[in-house]
């Protein structure tokens, strides 16, 4: 067969890095289909023919049932399905391919189906175009009959898989073998989705928002994924492949415009003001990414990922102790801020069923859940105190909206501290306590909250959603998710002003701080501690080196004078771009408000 034509697609690059691999279509867990080498091809041919026979018997039985119930004229569509099962062209092609490629019947059938479906979808006449669904039904039935005798396994994978899927939830990470996955391409999602945050943490290049992509590729296609600019190339030519090999040798998994710094070195502004850049993480294997990218500790460890998909529903004390100890040891001498369980719509053992909440983002979650299911909370706090002798640990309480919640949580924390101190004695370390500022109510009672805690963390992802009453996961209103909304800026400015007046450290722990333009804005407002996905740290470090503190202050002052996000965006991107001697305009798009809808 001649070389397949190169096809280029653009999505949004949500996790940087360039990788080459082969497509693995991930449609649902039961339908993961892979190429497996078969030794005995004739046995595989017989296996396929058996599945065809079984499918035919089933359809014939269905047809007579249907004819009995609704009349013979409706049986005809099943007649067409039976004829498809017997189709000479399809079967000859499949049997040929099983023999020549020595591949399993499932894979060969899927390839053939994909090709046919693609051809049908290109037909102009709507009726004939829609026949692709008949082909899919028939193929599904054959696959089902094939699947009985050989369940899916990751074992046979070559290890350069790039998962292509419509959707991929954080819990899906638990079902794949991450050692064998090099990248991720999704039809849905975007930069701020949780899945993309995880990808960045795992150094897993990823592209999202590529609508219709699954119809364009088949499992096994060669794919070149560029997470820096969102470009995906299917069937890349030899010249491109060579260029990627060279690039990977030079930069490894890192984005091309950054070079990692030594673990823990502070970033500096142009005039030498030190800025703390920490990493947001949720999985243990992200720690090396954080260190490699020069993080000054972990600014936010999303502990719920220890709970999600856990076989018991939740990790016990021992397991948590081990995880937190390792976190503390690996990041030592730098601090690790552990955010206590922040589940809202997931199933977590020891808690009421949260999956039925109608509006989980405003429901029983975060600190509310911890105060509701105290045992789970006490276990987590105990594990944290026991782990405290291994390094510097901090506790952050999520979703705080009232001072009473802080009082209650502190009482429980004190109770655990006393208990652990009795058991392990002086080895116990001081564990500073912070709260997440992510609910508007917390912003406006900041003076009161700040007095009760040692530090503040701003969860900008949630705060922006709650401030603007916009679910960023809802495509119909996603355009209203505007990080540069003047209200959001005033809100952030209030936080840093209050924090300074009560002399409490404050850290931004949202993805927004990984945007160079936004990071400069935050710097100018007075935020000197930022926490972001590890991979963005080198870029932000490099940007800050070009920015004099005073210049950022002026930029922030001016930015606060506008009344639309559009104006802020225009001003900010111009002002910051002038200070940075290389092209960072691609980042401007990430924080751009939509054109036309609410602009002038």
């Amino acid at each position: 067969m001649a070389a397949k034509p190169e096809k280029i697609y653009h999505g949004s690059g949500v996790s940087p890095g360039v990788v080459l691999g082969q497509v693995l279509k991930f449609e649902s867990h039961s339908r993961l289909l892979l190429k497996v080498h078969v030794e005995d091809v004739e046995a595989e041919v017989r296996r396929y023919l058996r599945a065809i026979e079984a499918s035919k018997e089933q359809l014939k039985a269905l047809k007579s049932q249907l004819e009995e119930k609704v009349g013979s004229e409706h049986g005809i569509i099943l007649d067409a399905h039976i004829l498809m099962l017997e189709d000479r062209l399809l079967n000859a092609d499949i049997l040929d391919n099983i023999r020549t490629s020595r591949a399993n019947a499932e894979w060969v059938l899927m390839q053939a189906t994909d090709r046919l479906v693609l051809t049908y979808k290109s037909l102009e006449d709507e009726y004939f175009r829609d026949r692709h669904s008949d082909i899919e039904h028939v193929a599904d039935r054959i696959q089902l009959n094939l699947s009985g005798d050989r369940p899916f396994s990751w074992e046979h994978l070559s290890g350069d898989q790039i998962i292509a899927s419509r959707d991929f939830s954080p819990s899906d990470f638990a079902t794949v073998d991450l050692q064998k996955v090099r990248g991720l391409v999704l039809e849905s999602g975007g930069r701020t989705s949780h899945t993309s945050i995880i990808c960045r943490g795992l150094l897993l290049p990823a592209i999202m928002g590529l609508r219709g992509f699954l119809d364009e590729v088949s499992t096994g296609d060669t794919l070149l994924l560029n997470g820096d600019d969102g470009q995906v190339i299917v069937n890349p030519g030899p010249a491109r492949i060579e260029a990627v090999r060279r690039r990977m040798e030079a930069f490894g998994a890192y984005p091309a415009d950054s070079s990692p710094a030594q673990f823990g070195t502070p970033a500096l502004t142009k005039d030498g003001v030190p800025i703390s850049l920490r990493a947001n993480t949720e999985m243990m294997h992200e720690l090396s990414a954080a260190k490699n990218c020069g993080a000054a500790g972990i600014g936010l460890f999303r502990s719920e990922f220890l709970y999600f998909g856990h076989p018991l529903g939740y990790p016990d004390m021992e397991e948590q102790l081990e995880a937190y100890s390792r976190l503390a040891r690996e990041m030592s001498p730098h601090p690790v801020a552990i955010r206590t369980l922040d589940a809202g719509s997931e199933k977590v053992g020891g808690s009421p069923d949260l999956t039925q909440q109608e509006n989980p983002s405003m429901g029983l979650r975060g600190i509310r859940l911890s105060l509701h299911s105290k045992e789970t909370f006490l276990t987590q706090i105990e594990a944290i105190f026991r782990a405290s002798c291994n390094g510097r640990i901090e506790i952050v309480l999520p979703m705080v909206s009232t001072i009473e919640e802080v009082w209650q949580a502190k009482a429980l924390i004190d109770q655990v501290r006393t208990k652990v101190r009795k058991e392990i004695g002086p080895a116990i370390q001081a564990v500073p306590l912070g709260v997440m500022i992510e609910v508007p109510a917390a912003v406006f009672s900041l003076e009161v909250l700040a007095k009760e805690v040692d530090f503040l963390c701003v969860g900008t992802n949630d705060l922006i959603q709650y401030m603007l009453a916009v679910d960023r996961g809802n495509p119909q209103v996603a355009y209203l998710f505007q990080p540069l909304h003047p209200t959001v800026l005033h809100c952030l400015n209030r936080i840093t002003t209050v924090a300074k007046s009560v002399n409490k450290p404050v850290r931004i722990c949202g993805e927004i701080s990984s945007n160079p333009f936004y990071a400069v804005l935050l710097l100018g407002m007075g935020f000197t501690q930022l926490s972001m996905n590890p991979l963005s740290i080198p870029t932000i470090r490099r940007v800050f080196r070009e920015i004099p503190m005073e210049a950022s202050r002026q930029i922030a002052q001016k930015a606060l004078t506008f009344i639309t996000a559009q104006e802020v965006h225009e001003y900010l991107t111009n002002a910051v771009a002038k200070l940075v001697p290389w092209d960072i305009t691609s980042y401007a798009k990430e924080i751009a408000p939509p054109n036309g809808r609410n602009g002038k």
């Binding site: 004829l83 498809m84 189709d87 062209l89 006449d125």
Partner: protein, 91 residues
């Protein structure tokens, strides 16, 4: 080898039901029976329903049948009749 033009004159064209009838009929003959659209040079096997549907032949489409084999004459007559009687459907 026989070549014979036919016109798709039933209301729904060579849709699934008509295509199924055509495949069943064509499969009764040992000859190779091919169909092609006048406006395209793609030739398909009339014993393959997937091929026939891919022709996307709606009402009014001109098709060319090419038949080669021992029973080509009988096959031509049977198939022409099927088209002429509009697959037993409305016009």
């Amino acid at each position: 080898m026989i070549h014979q033009p036919v016109l798709v004159s039933n209301k729904l064209g060579l849709h699934a039901r008509a295509a199924a009838k055509l495949v069943r009929l064509a499969s009764r003959f040992s000859s190779n029976i091919y169909l092609s659209r006048e406006d395209a040079n793609q030739q398909i096997d009339s014993k393959s329903i997937l091929g026939i549907l891919m022709l996307a032949a709606s009402k009014g489409t001109q098709l060319m049948i090419s038949i080669e084999g021992q029973d080509e004459v009988e096959a031509k007559e049977a198939i022409c009749q099927l088209f002429e009687t509009r697959f037993g459907e409305e016009s």
